[in-house]
Symmetry: C2
Subunit: 400 residues, 2 copies
């Protein structure tokens, strides 16, 4: 069976709680978490000593109350500097954050080539980080932890990349190559998981124990948070939301299979249909994002073909989301990703369709939130990954 990996439960819970409800008093932590006040004192003392947490001034407090005033705690933003890097097809996006999760610097560096050896990519990541940090007078060595996201089949625990469009070889211990090159602890993960981590650590998922994040961009992704932790599938890889099948022998997907959700709603799928049904002269723009814009505009101006394309995408998406809800019964679903800009266009259809496809029980159905991050979503997710790794490491250390 599995080895013992139980790591200081209270410490983790308390730190997570302070992060979620920044500016919280010890009493309230004890009440909310069920941990005894005695333990909260002990643990927070340790966190203060380590510099992770700081006491902040209580607001002068309107209502005049008796008793010893509560002392509020918050993460100590200055404690550490962290960075996340997302390797895409043709560029690396970097976000540098402080320990409080605030963005300190960001940068996009074009990639000389889309594919290379692990060592090459490590060099590029180093360059991207250096370029990002230079303006604020910092250096890669000033970082406490780095998270790197890339697409493909990535085993976050072992740090191995089984396959990625980014790397020219298979089964590479990419995390170790990066740690070696950068001289700072690195975590890696599949990019689909990054959005969920971003929501969990900095976004709409703060303080929620169970939720699911779905993203639409070039591809379609899913991240699952169960019991306050990212669920990475039982073997470290999973949650291939983009490739769940919504139609028997359906549309051809770029993965080579048929009927994948992605084959109905990803950029290339929409444009493929548009290409067949709508004259090229009616579609403005050259890049994919521009063409999608153009397609939406056509639909809004009453073009039936365009409307039909968008409409089907909406219906298929609702089918996929319904299946996720039927399986997990989550309390919250967060829809994210750049393409959610268009959500309002088919929201009506989507919600209506969804209601037709989820099992109706006597309680509130899953709440569905749309959270469109700026284009830094993925890099911030990578930074969240860095954060996760850092706190894991710190909490591992003996109580200095």
């Amino acid at each position: 069976m599995s080895p013992r990996t139980d790591t200081r439960g209270s410490r983790r819970t308390i730190l997570a709680h302070i992060r979620a409800r920044s500016g919280i008093a010890r009493v309230d932590i004890a009440r909310d978490t069920g941990i005894s006040p005695a333990t909260v004192t002990t643990v927070t003392a340790e966190l203060l000593a380590k510099g992770l947490v700081a006491e902040v001034l209580a607001e002068p407090d309107s209502g005049t109350k008796r008793g010893r005033p509560r002392v509020l705690l918050a993460l100590n933003s200055d404690a550490f500097l962290l960075a996340g890097a997302k390797i895409s097809n043709n560029h690396i996006t970097v976000a540098v954050i402080d320990f409080g999760g605030e963005l300190v610097a960001d940068h996009v560096m074009p990639l000389p080539r889309a594919r290379g050896t692990a060592r090459d990519m490590a060099d590029y990541v180093h360059a991207a980080l250096t370029e990002t940090l230079a303006p604020i007078g910092k250096d890669v060595a000033d970082l406490a932890s780095i998270g790197v996201g890339l697409s493909g089949f990535v085993d976050a625990e072992s740090g191995e990349v089984h396959w990625s469009p980014t790397l020219s070889t298979r089964n590479v211990p990419f995390r170790d190559v990066l740690t070696d090159r950068l001289g700072v602890p690195v975590q890696i993960d599949n990019d689909a998981n990054l959005a969920a981590l971003a929501e969990l650590w900095f976004g709409a998922g703060r303080g929620m124990s169970d939720f699911i994040v779905l993203t639409i961009e070039e591809g379609v992704g899913m991240g699952i948070v169960l019991d306050n932790r990212l669920f990475r599938g039982t073997r470290g890889i999973g949650a291939e939301f983009g490739h769940i099948k919504v139609q028997l022998d359906g549309a051809l997907c770029r993965c080579g299979q048929r009927g994948c959700l992605e084959a109905y709603i990803a950029d290339y799928a929409l444009l493929r249909e548009a290409g067949a049904a709508i004259g090229a002269d009616q579609m403005d723009g050259t890049g994919a994002p521009q063409q999608i814009d153009s397609l939406i505009a056509l639909a809004e101006s009453g073009n039936h073909a365009a409307q039909s394309i968008i409409d089907r995408a909406g219906r298929m998406f609702s089918l996929g989301v319904a299946n996720v809800i039927n399986i997990f019964d989550p309390e919250l679903i967060i829809l994210s990703g750049e393409r959610m800009r268009f959500f309002s266009y088919f929201e009506e259809t989507f919600r209506q369709r969804l209601a037709q496809n989820i099992i109706d029980i006597d309680r509130d159905p899953a709440r569905i939130t749309v959270h469109t991050w700026e284009d830094l979503l993925w890099a911030k997710g990578a930074a969240a990954l860095a954060m996760e790794g850092l706190t894991d490491r710190i909490l591992q250390e003996p109580a200095g």
Copy 2:
């Protein structure tokens, strides 16, 4: 956030391990679980003192070895008597087992009516248990724990039944009604979860940490085991595998929605199609199970309509299973339920289709096992539920 529910980790792990590998020595438990030999000694001493575990004679052991001989441990079958009851449409099936999981008695009692108040049903369950126990000279009061399964929306944790075809009222605290009437601790659960529990405690899932059980009978069910525990959805209800959608605006399901998997592969779905395409004179039998037999026979004898019906069911099923695999990436999938008798008929198609629909990575795909239990599957699952409740309660007790 969540209250502390951490319950004596090692104790649970060690007991589970002894159950999984009956007749195991302390050294091996320590090696397998990563728990220190010192702790294994302490914990097993406690389990022995409580009578849950017994030392069994080591087999005379072929290979002659030096050193102190290992003392094998196994569950003490005589420790407790447990019962599981499954309430179906027109009968209650009961299985009585000992603490080792061996069947001691079983019985089917017809139900006077399909639907009643919680109190009525509690009376019926009491009657069914009494009838089962009488021949072995036992009584309901001799039971240490009882598990009851029924279909509908059952919250196992709170013990409430939000809705069930069996109960005439909604939102009933059915567990408490049962405990009250029977005078013995009762657990209740949705029947879909029972099959997974049966596999986890007594079946192909013994000793596996993560797997998924899919069942086809009147309906279609799914049970999910993650990290050695049944995953009941984030809010206690979930895993509606029968109602995941495999076709947009597809066949009408008895749940009122369209395109549910169940609407393609459950008994009623097959017979609905058969009724339309095959003359009633060609279909033998009157009950659903007999008619399904007849349909399979027709298909095997070359009837194209029958073949086509079965074939589509197989294709749709493979689609549903593929989706589950793509989401969870489990190491093992167990196909169970009475209808798996016919699996061999479409196994070829199923496996081939499945391979076309799961994401192909550089490692072994999920292993798929067919495990057709005798008709006691559900009742044994309910008994496993009783077992789970019992051990939880025992491990909670102070180390007497």
